[in-house]
């Protein structure tokens, strides 16, 4: 995040906040797929904010958001469950007279004071939660001779496809 444009006069108090919120819940069409979790759907909210000083030219700001265990529903690959995604929004709020106030100064409805109410700037991206490990152990020979394995009741055959990788999904 480049903050030069916000570089204020005096000693400003600036706040950067990051929040997670549920983006969408793709129930998919995984009929017969293993249900990874029967926990009911719940909105996940996790957020954190830090007050920072922004000397001109120093733009990186790091905010650590801790998502409590079990707070987020996991993202599951195709055929294994639902693809739950979350919006992660990082907001930049300035306690000084902000850009928005300056831009909106001609508007009657613009905030007059410099309170850190509306974000000066924000960016949202979509993310999911999932831990994936690549397993590079050899595939047992009996499974190789059967082309590809039947693990977890799932089968595929090498019908012109490039290949398979053996992966292991674990709880985040």
């Amino acid at each position: 995040m480049t903050c030069d444009r916000f570089s204020p006069s005096g000693a400003p108090s600036t706040r950067v906040a990051a929040t997670y919120s549920r983006a969408c819940h793709n129930t998919g069409s995984d009929a017969g797929a293993q249900k990874p979790s029967e926990s009911k759907s719940k909105a996940m909210k996790a957020s954190a904010s830090v007050d920072v000083q922004l000397p001109p030219g120093e733009s990186p700001v790091y905010v650590l958001v801790k998502v409590p265990p079990g707070a987020a529903e996991l993202w599951w690959p195709n055929g294994y469950g639902t693809r739950t995604l979350y919006n992660m929004t990082a907001s930049f709020l300035s306690a000084g007279l902000g850009l928005r106030s300056r831009l909106d100064s001609s508007s009657k409805s613009a905030p007059v004071s410099g309170q850190a109410s509306a974000p000066e700037s924000s960016v949202t991206s979509t993310t999911g939660f999932r831990t994936v490990d690549l397993v590079q152990e050899p595939i047992p020979k009996p499974l190789v001779t059967r082309s590809i394995s039947a693990v977890m009741g799932w089968t595929c055959s090498p019908s012109g496809r490039t290949g398979c990788r053996r992966m292991r999904c674990s709880r985040a």
Binding site: C24, C164, M167
Partner: protein, 65 residues
């Protein structure tokens, strides 16, 4: 849990990039998911794909490598 990640290759969906459309890319990835693909290999000789490519893979449940 172990899973087999049945995968397929991805190359730029058109040699002329301006002709690539989000609708077409999403359709191709949806087709891969419908064919029970779990993972997509993005060919290294291709391009850094558009954001909507990764977004579509997220929604289709496709791992990428």
């Amino acid at each position: 849990m172990d899973l087999f990640t049945k995968w397929a290759n991805w190359v730029p969906s058109d040699a002329l990039q301006p002709r690539v459309t989000e609708r077409n890319v999403r359709g191709l990835l949806a087709s891969a998911a419908a064919a029970n693909m779990v993972m997509i290999r993005v060919w290294g000789g291709g391009i850094y794909e558009h954001d909507f490519f990764y977004d579509a893979a997220d929604k289709e449940g496709l791992l990428l490598f």
